[in-house]
Symmetry: D2
Subunit: 469 residues, 4 copies
């Protein structure tokens, strides 16, 4: 929903548990907590030690598991996945976890991220006689593991992971073991927790809170972890490189109650608002945020500036997937879809409108107009992150430079285009200050979409084949 | 959803429009804005001047109108309704608007409120040979109007309205006219707006903002308004009495972007928080509100006290009607349903937790425990309204005194029961100060649930038969 | 399905049971047996002695009771109904049994037939202040009973039944009793059986066989029967008149395994075929029937004529309600919908094609063409009933004279129109010989659609208002 | 439905078309005609020359294509499939056609039959690194073709077909060509027709009649046919062997209006009845058949014996997949599910009951009891095929010898077990006489289930691995 407003989407959320008798149910609640990471489809695969069982479907977690199907999903281990709607290749076949069966055992894969050389690897596999069932890049990893004839599964996985380039967080379930892996730069989040004696894995820590688990540690870049009844074992498939966690996870994607790299997302957003108020103050009567992702930054801006924070914009909670969009004619008559301004709050006021980011600018323009039509005297737009000027190859759907308003316009031009009285962005330094607590401990962020500094050198090359897929 | 957290429910939302070629679609968007007033069912009846057409169903507005059914709902006038889940008498038959056809014309009724003498009136009608189809008190009004043989419809309606006792806001649609009526004390909200040349009616003004309409005026207590192609005509069926708008509409039910009696709901809630901070200050590190209805008061409390407002509790957005509730066993293991605490915010802190009201206390107790388990050193509960000690006979589902924690316990006892470090409620004066702008203009509130001062003397009497129904 | 082929429809099927602990389930199986009488909707109302419970829906019995809903339909008594799709007034509201609740008790009505003066009676009721909920003529009877202030229910019912004119078989359920009634001429079938100690009522006896009940007797014309825990009581609301059971029940509507007036339907159809072979023999190689309703007559024709009976036409069993009709273009290319000819049987042969009746002639024309395209040298059409020349006012949907091919064309013209080599109909004497076993016992048939001799004199009059409804 | 009565199931039906602009729609109607061959699932894959498009689902053809999805299935070529419910491996993944995509082109497979060495081949493929997605034996063929590196597709297919052992009829669609193949003994039926300029393929010829196509010829055993815009080309992948068409196709599976090997199924069944009357006459009053598959034989028996054919058993047409089965208790009380006896026909009569075959005997026992309870004085069971004493490895679900009543009991014992007054089976010679028109043209039948003479020598061997799958 929010994603529709923003036009900025991520690939998915991953959850796993090992050693709990209600593994499927716990995974259901875990996926609920990750629902914001993907609303197109959801699935769960369980293991009872002998066989893998699967249930998946299109829609929200609630829709997919409408009646309790948990009795059919017995087992003490599970992996689950929520998927975001990508273009063209939707459909139930691509809903994860992908499950592969063979006479010698089965394997389920759940993946968040993007394998940049998937097209090339797929071609190689097919030329050798393999048949791939989905258009998902995730399936490529399964075939690479299966093709590999190393004696141990861990060795086969290491070999396979070394062949893929990109950003990824994987959870893989076999009858007797669960494996989790993170890409060598740690671009996507993935954490490990404990729930009693059980191990849990999740894209975000908010899932731990919802199920009552405690956070243990983050999965490290280049790490491959094996979880089984014998406990947890770790190995590396890549040399240690500086971590570059995706900055947009802090700015927009993750839930405010999650911690990424030991940094609470709400707190980091509030600091973005504080930094923004220091960098770009303005005289105004009220501060308001675009719900939901900009509320934290707006509160920070208000606190730092001393301007009261008010509920100037309200989000329609019940606008779901099946919402009937108003026709162009009705939109022009003023029918609003997802956001409404609160006239009683903004009428006659100078408003600071905080948003987390701008992609194409169409939404910002609409919100500014809304506020003015509701009586706002002035609207000062403050963006709690730097201008997005570059595409992302690591799993975030920032398609092409052409569509990015900041790639093609100066801040003044943007101000004109969206009809604001002033516009200011947070600086990259401001953003980094808000996110990174301790720069000495080799924990950085990936800010390529703002700066163009892609953390991995092969990536530009790989992206050529990527755009062909 | 929110309603499930609170255990406090209202009867419904009413919407109507006259003179717009897309009457059904506009009503769909209007009902969206009123969705928080009822999630059990929704319906729309349109008139094209010759016949009335109906579509209704169980579920959210989105579910009921999944595919665009608007082509089947032609006409320039419509009334719509959202319904809240009452006990026992659910089912499609009771979903409104109720539609009654006859050889001489049809009539559709949409109603928010409670007719206290419905059981008695129903018995009288049946003894005279009438067959009632639903268990809804709304149907009684239709029969009273139909039985009445006054020459004009307006006179029949006035007679019928004088027979009923209670709190109500009605919208009635016939082929050629729409009628709206409000009870003599104005306990329920109902406003009139304009959308171009069309007239619109809505339980709350937030629906006007969403469809791009402008607010005109409130329907007055005891007023019966006729809207047709000839414009708007008004008459009275009851003497002018002091208005007593339900205080809980401000405290909890209405959307923050609505204005009731010219008072913005968010602003009144923020003032409740400010009053509360003045009356019951406390030393603490963070202020947090129980989402969504207490956020405004929490911001007010923070602003007044100087303690930072933080996102200490987060609500699961995707928890819908079909959500599979965790078993008792999983709840005890810590699986949360709708709210989670944000450990990164509350850990090690003294927390002021603002809630709008307490009904049974079970939710408050759960939230306090959650916060403590997430590391809160102290939890000071501040309630932005007075203790609820009395049942409501006017359409709000505050069932019996036995279930009301404040009817049976002192504030100190409540503090013990919910495990807080301190508890304080807003005073009735504080509440009135926050809501009523100008006491001289005969505009009061009904605060019977706090004080026991029921605004209408017959009501206690009538309530006897009420409890029998 | 069959109904779609024929374009000839009846009103419904009625089932009831008193005194069986699985009343709802038995009714479900009973309605299955009556499914051919109505495929638009189905419903069951049960009584547990204290309250009536209802479940109904649109679609086949299977669809309406998809999951076992029987636990919600407790009680030792039930009435059920299947409904056929009438024009315009479909929808769930008209699905029977209609259930009316009041503070002094409830009443459920299931009806097969047509109340000819319903429009007039409805107008009178509305002028007196009643509100009718459906467009069903069945509801009128409920209001007539309720309006009537006789001290006993039976007396109220007798009065009410005397006000209505038409053809009808009613089953009415109250908390403590079941009532069944048949119109004064006995135009529609209705029988009573026993299942252990329980009483059962059904439009057709085939339902008794399916549930393992034994036939007791037919309900008599003008009889009102009361069934309760005290047993069965009978009274009359009309003078004894000669019975005129609808001939089309034998010819087309009823199931071949039902007995009507002690005459088995299959056997009567076979005799129609035998009579037809005697009256209109022809030299040919094979006899074939249009499935399913003409199979019995075809076997009779073959047996009498000595010409072998063969499967020259086959019906597609899986063509259901949701079948996607072939476009005009595909139909012209030869795509068949419901019937196909068996080329291996008819190629090069002279075929006698037996059909039970012809309404508009379009289906007959299509079948003759099919047979010729499959190679038939000659097609001799033999119709096992007389020409239908008159509309029916008693519940069979033979709409207007204009549409009836036999009302506007001679047999020779019909032969030309449908492209047959010869056409012959059964005579009315032949039909009566085939159906009526013993003419001395006052048991006749209604053959008004063939002869224009309507059995009740008021009916022409009443039909004027009928056509206005 | 019938299949449920019988407990005897086949694997599927295959349909294909090349060169028609409404390929998907024609396939829909073709699959309707083949619906009796499989009710678990259905699917269609089309080619527009560039890409393959797919739609499939669980349920009847009607359910799977509820709304017209044909606009999404553009293309001038299509293959379709109906599937029967096998044990354990249900689910959408196994619904055919199976579609395999690769960067160099796609391939869809539809299959009727059974690959006996599938388990062994699957193991070999997996050991070489292939991942198979389904548990369907059909997928094995796709991998064998893909693994094979022959320069032409036809050569790859020939190699792959030579590796598989069993009974099969395949239709394979690629972007630019359709391939059809039949096993070396021709155990399963597969025919080719023309619809204007388009080629059509179908498991049974009844589909040709329904779509208005004309029969061209049967696919020959061991033949691989390529259909494209260049016309039709044929090659062989196996030496010419005597054909052994499955006898049960004539006895039970195929539709009576289909021709197999130029023999009409209804006609062959009628001849079985005639032969049976010659071999095993009996004195009786009526002949009746178990609907639907035994009607033709019953008519033959009646014609030959001079005993009248009557409708002594009737089938419930509306008993679908979702039918709620009566509980044991209700069944004992006499509630019938799918068949009812017609008391008016059988009461007091000596009945010859014709059935096509007996598998376990439970259904026969129930029907005999039914007839006796309906008053039949004697019931003489005559079976229009020999006793089934052996399992089938060629795609018919005659599971194990243990379940076959005729494998473990003499005819006299069977007579006792099912409670008949006499039982007689058709002889194998009688069966062959009824089916085979001209024994000189190398056209035989497979009667292994009656005789144990399996037509292929390797089959016993292969069946060992088969039973392990």
């Amino acid at each position: 929903m929010l994603t529709e407003i923003k036009g900025l989407n991520e690939e998915c959320g991953v959850f796993g548990i090992w050693g709990h008798e209600k593994a499927a149910e716990i995974t259901y609640y875990g996926l609920h907590a990750l629902q914001h990471r993907g609303q197109e489809g959801a699935g769960v695969v369980t293991s009872d030690g002998e066989t893998l069982k699967v249930h998946k479907g299109l829609g929200l977690v609630n829709d997919v598991f409408k009646q309790a199907e948990f009795s059919d999903l017995s087992g003490h281990a599970a992996v689950g996945h929520v998927r975001y709607p990508t273009q063209g290749d939707g459909g139930i076949d691509n809903v994860q976890p992908l499950l592969f069966r063979s006479q010698t055992g089965s394997m389920a894969l759940a993946h968040n991220g993007n394998i940049m050389n998937a097209y090339k690897l797929r071609g190689e596999l097919e030329r050798e006689g393999s048949i791939l069932q989905t258009t998902s890049d995730t399936e490529v990893l399964a075939h690479l593991i299966k093709r590999n004839r190393k004696t141990s599964t861990v060795e086969s996985m290491k070999d396979a992971l070394q062949e893929i380039i990109g950003a990824y967080a994987f959870a893989i379930l076999k009858e007797d073991k669960m494996y989790v892996a993170l890409d060598p730069r740690g671009l996507r989040p993935l954490s490990i927790g404990k729930l009693g004696d059980a191990y849990v894995v999740s894209s975000e820590t908010c899932a731990f809170d919802i199920i009552g688990a405690t956070f243990e540690r983050e999965v490290l870049p280049g790490e491959l972890i094996t979880i089984s009844d014998d406990g947890i074992e770790t190995t590396r498939f890549a040399l240690r490189e500086p971590r570059n966690m995706c900055a947009m996870e802090y700015v927009y994607f993750s839930r405010p109650d999650s911690d990424l790299n030991h940094v609470n997302v709400h707190a980091s957003r509030k600091r973005m608002g504080i930094e923004l108020a220091k960098e770009s103050p303005v005289e105004a009567d009220v501060v308001t945020g675009v719900p939901d992702s900009s509320i934290s930054a707006a509160i920070g801006y208000a606190e730092q500036s001393g301007i009261p924070y008010e509920l100037g914009l309200i989000k329609n909670r019940y606008v779901g997937r099946t919402f009937i969009q108003p026709s162009q004619e009705l939109r022009e008559q003023g029918v609003k879809m997802k956001l409404s301004p609160v006239r009683g709050i903004v009428d006659g006021k100078r408003v600071v409108m905080i948003d987390d980011s701008i992609v194409r600018g169409t939404t910002s323009k609409r919100i500014v107009r809304m506020l003015k039509e509701a009586g706002a005297k002035e609207v000062h737009v403050r963006i709690a992150s730097p201008p997005i000027e570059n595409p992302c190859y690591y799993g975030i759907d920032i398609s092409t430079r052409e569509e990015l308003i900041a790639a093609n316009n100066s801040v003044d031009e943007i101000c004109d285009l969206i009809g604001a009285d002033s516009v200011a962005y947070l600086s990259t330094d401001g953003l980094e200050n808000a996110i990174v607590k301790d720069k000495t401990i080799n924990q950085g962020i990936c800010n390529a979409c703002f700066t163009g500094n892609y953390p991995v050198s092969e990536d530009k090359q790989a992206s050529i084949s990527y755009t062909r897929s």
